[in-house]
Amino acid sequence: MSEEEREWIITVDDQHLDQLDQIVAELEKAGLRVESVLYSIGQVTGCTRLAETTKDSATTDPARKRLTVVTGVASVDAVQHYRIQPPDAEIQ
């Protein structure tokens, strides 16, 4: 993901799990740069470009709406990040 992009996880609903490839194509048309298609859990990860003039939060980002309205999409969520303690920490 570049600095001007936002990363998303798109969850496909149960009814459309067997149409994952078609949905990926629709998501690409809606502006998603696909990173991976996770067939076993019915999810797609990818990035959209942030609008040049505004810095919306994930919830107000217009890209999210465009992805959400694709048929078969159950939810569109901004990627969260995780961190564990450094190796010499006592509590990990």
């Binding site: 076993s40 990040h81 509590i91």
Partner: protein
């Protein structure tokens, strides 16, 4: 040779007082530990001898059953009356009842355990005979563990019962190890890498997916609801650390973070060697899925490390989680249980910890069952 409890389940006084002890002594068993009022005796024998004795008894219309003798321990929950590492076993393995598995040869053989973490130190001497499948989901980094956390967790879940350099420290020593590097060498990761790791584990039909990671976020993160549910439907149980954001000594009980706070993912708390909740171990959140499901040893846990350091002792709900994952592997290996059913078997074989609230320890201390039904 081992000790067995022999039972003549009848109410007939003649059988209890005369026939049964006669049968026992004619087989060469001592009747010193035969209790006529109960129709129960304890003998030294082996399974073959007992099997033929059992057949003889049935032929003579005096049926009996036999079972290995159990050892009972006083249950100590008072402070200072707890476990400690011995030369043979870490305190954690003792507390979860590893001897039950050792006596019966339940090793997790045939069970695939995915550990999604910082990778694995494939050079570790304790794993030279193990076939570890390792994959990296971190761009620009291979599957090697430069941090140590991943190797430590894999050690607890799937490490050896015996080593030439310290106590045995692994729960399921013959489980097949799938190491998915979803956290980079700097210890960071994202949903992208973690979900890719889960997907990979499902592709390999791993019965257990162990995730000693989380974010201190109260809200349920929707992708893990779907991923957890779909994993369960495919017979994979995801087991995750509750989080270390508590500081109970100052009155802060913390809260279960994501992804453990998700409804279809088990959340694991940490207890110490006195079987008390660890200072850092996060408490249940009120929403569905935010509960602590079970607790396991998570303070001063000795296990494998990386970078030429053979072992390290550290604490965390990260350490409690692979204890549960290892127990899950043993249960699945012995009974074939998977998914939701495996979750239930873990919970029902837990030992309640009466001195601790359910919000902190869930069903209690995760324990290897004495008897496996399956």
């Amino acid at each position: 040779m081992a000790r067995y409890v022999v039972t003549f389940d009848t109410s007939s006084p003649g059988v209890l007082q005369d026939d049964a002890p006669e049968l026992l002594s004619s087989q060469g068993f001592s009747t010193e530990t035969y209790f006529p009022r109960l129709g129960i005796g304890v003998v030294d024998s082996d399974p073959e001898q007992l099997q033929s004795f059992s057949t003889r008894c049935r032929e003579q219309n005096r049926p009996m059953t036999f079972t290995p003798e159990l050892t009972y321990y006083a249950i100590e929950t008072a402070p200072g009356a707890g476990f400690e590492d011995s030369a043979e076993l870490t305190w954690g393995l003792q507390a979860i009842g590893i001897t039950s598995a050792q006596d019966r040869g339940h090793t997790g053989a045939g069970v695939r355990v995915a550990v999604l973490d910082t990778g694995f130190n494939a050079d570790h001497p304790d794993f030279s005979s193990r076939n570890v499948i390792a994959e990296s989901f971190i761009q620009g980094e291979g599957p090697h563990d430069a941090h140590g956390h991943g190797t430590h967790c894999i050690g607890t879940a799937c490490g050896p019962w015996e080593t030439d350099a310290g106590p045995g420290y692994g729960v399921a020593p013959e489980a097949e190890i799938y190491s998915g590097k979803v956290l980079g060498d700097d210890g960071t990761g994202s949903d992208t890498s973690i979900l890719a790791g889960i997907d990979w584990a499902l592709q390999h039909d791993c019965q257990v997916i162990s995730m000693s990671l989380g974010a201190d976020v109260r809200e349920v993160h929707p992708p893990y609801v779907a991923a957890g549910r779909r994993a369960l439907e495919r017979g994979s149980l995801i087991i995750a650390a509750a989080g270390n954001n508590a500081q109970r000594s100052t009155g802060d009980p913390g809260f279960v973070g994501a992804p453990a706070n998700s409804p279809h993912i088990m959340a694991i708390a940490a207890i110490d060697s006195d079987l008390r909740i660890a200072d850092f171990s996060a408490r249940s959140l009120p929403h569905e899925g935010g509960e602590i499901d079970i607790a396991a040893p998570g303070v001063d846990i000795h296990s494998s490390w990386t970078g030429g350091e053979r072992y390290r002792t550290i604490s965390g709900t990260s350490m409690a989680t692979p204890h549960v994952s290892g127990i899950a592997a043993l249960i699945s290996g012995a009974t074939g249980a998977r998914g939701e059913q495996l979750w239930q078997e873990l919970v029902s074989s837990a030992v309640a910890l009466d001195d601790e609230p359910v919000e902190d320890v869930g069903a209690g201390l995760a324990k290897i069952p004495d008897q496996f039904e399956g």
